[in-house]
Symmetry: D2
Subunit: 135 residues, 4 copies
Amino acid sequence: MLTYDAKIRTRYGETDKMGVIYHANYINYYEIARTEMLRSTGLYSYDEMERDGVMMPVVEIESKYLMPAYYDECLTVRVTVREPPTARITFHYEIYNEKRELLNTGRAVLVFISVKSGRPCRPPKKLIDCFKEYF
Amino acid sequence: MLTYDAKIRTRYGETDKMGVIYHANYINYYEIARTEMLRSTGLYSYDEMERDGVMMPVVEIESKYLMPAYYDECLTVRVTVREPPTARITFHYEIYNEKRELLNTGRAVLVFISVKSGRPCRPPKKLIDCFKEYF
Amino acid sequence: MLTYDAKIRTRYGETDKMGVIYHANYINYYEIARTEMLRSTGLYSYDEMERDGVMMPVVEIESKYLMPAYYDECLTVRVTVREPPTARITFHYEIYNEKRELLNTGRAVLVFISVKSGRPCRPPKKLIDCFKEYF
Amino acid sequence: MLTYDAKIRTRYGETDKMGVIYHANYINYYEIARTEMLRSTGLYSYDEMERDGVMMPVVEIESKYLMPAYYDECLTVRVTVREPPTARITFHYEIYNEKRELLNTGRAVLVFISVKSGRPCRPPKKLIDCFKEYF
């Protein structure tokens, strides 16, 4: 299992007229957190992976909103990979505010697609290496 | 059951470097579709409801991405309410492109909150009236 | 001179905690309006132009915010081209709400870039044709 | 004169189908940079200011795009205040990539509005204090 805590400060443009962070932005936070998790391994980055010819479109999103987030909060987006990547990879999420209150839980499923062919492919070896020691 | 087909043209700023519509934008499309559905009843609008003191935060989102959407496509976002609103209301979604290909399916669950107290409340009578004849 | 009035309904996710449309969204509205203007000529679309190998990055934006826009308003984004395109093209903007109040004025300057070479190029003949009869 | 260098990592959802950061996002970067500048003084934050009853809507934006920014770059958004705030405050911007190339220059003018009355007001004393020693 690999867990990483990404810190994301909420932006003014992400608020809505209810005075809270608009719900669709959490889906962006999910993406930032998994990108930062990958970078934190020191072995690979999502950007390098795309340049290596593999992209990872999202095929499934699930999100539960428990409490609102507010402007200028420094959120902790905890992302966890529980199983090694196969044809797909699942990221699990928990978002906390600075008081350590759980605001949101979620899940994102991504697949591996060859940039060249547009067809499903295996996860790159470098990506598998990122996760190897955690399973 | 109440079904409504909202037409949404994809925007340049909604594309990403994969050349497709970035997945988080579908969550915005869901919101636009349910707003337009409500307006289409001719009886109420989401904006009026907020001015009447009731807001509807999202508590759950689910989204499955089957095929990509592209820039400048005119998508049909079909939104369906299958059951009358209680303490919550569930919207079901299907998104089609102009070739009638199914791109995405999803679900959004919203609750009713009093703007004044910030606490859960009943759905406004006017909202119930919108759906009355369909169940 | 070519003028076109695009109708854009403001979205919930575009509001901010001041209760108004967040200012950066106007820059998106500018883009939608010039796209719709081009489509309205019946001769060309921005999407076709990119497929023909020419893209139009923005090199300059100016925007003055006079009055706020609110959620669920149907804005009129008036876009005007005052001079035929050369190496660049300038779009002038005025945004009105439903009461015909002027909310915003602006300007966007775009250039023509070859998708293949990444270098400046001439405006496509089809684009020039769109504007021909107006100057 | 007060200058601050904010570091902003570009997000996947901020890219567009040209493969670069969509131009409207720079307007968001401007806002993040001025917020971080204020926070960096250790004396005040924009969030506190709003809670103190003063908000700062943008009345003018200017932006020149010189070179594109790409996904996952760590941009330096240099924000400078050249004159003490009066009824308005002007922020000047320069955005650099990691190679120290200048990508963008811009300007944002903001005014002070009382949250309660919705009318122009003076800049809060705490805000003036933030800038005092720099002029």
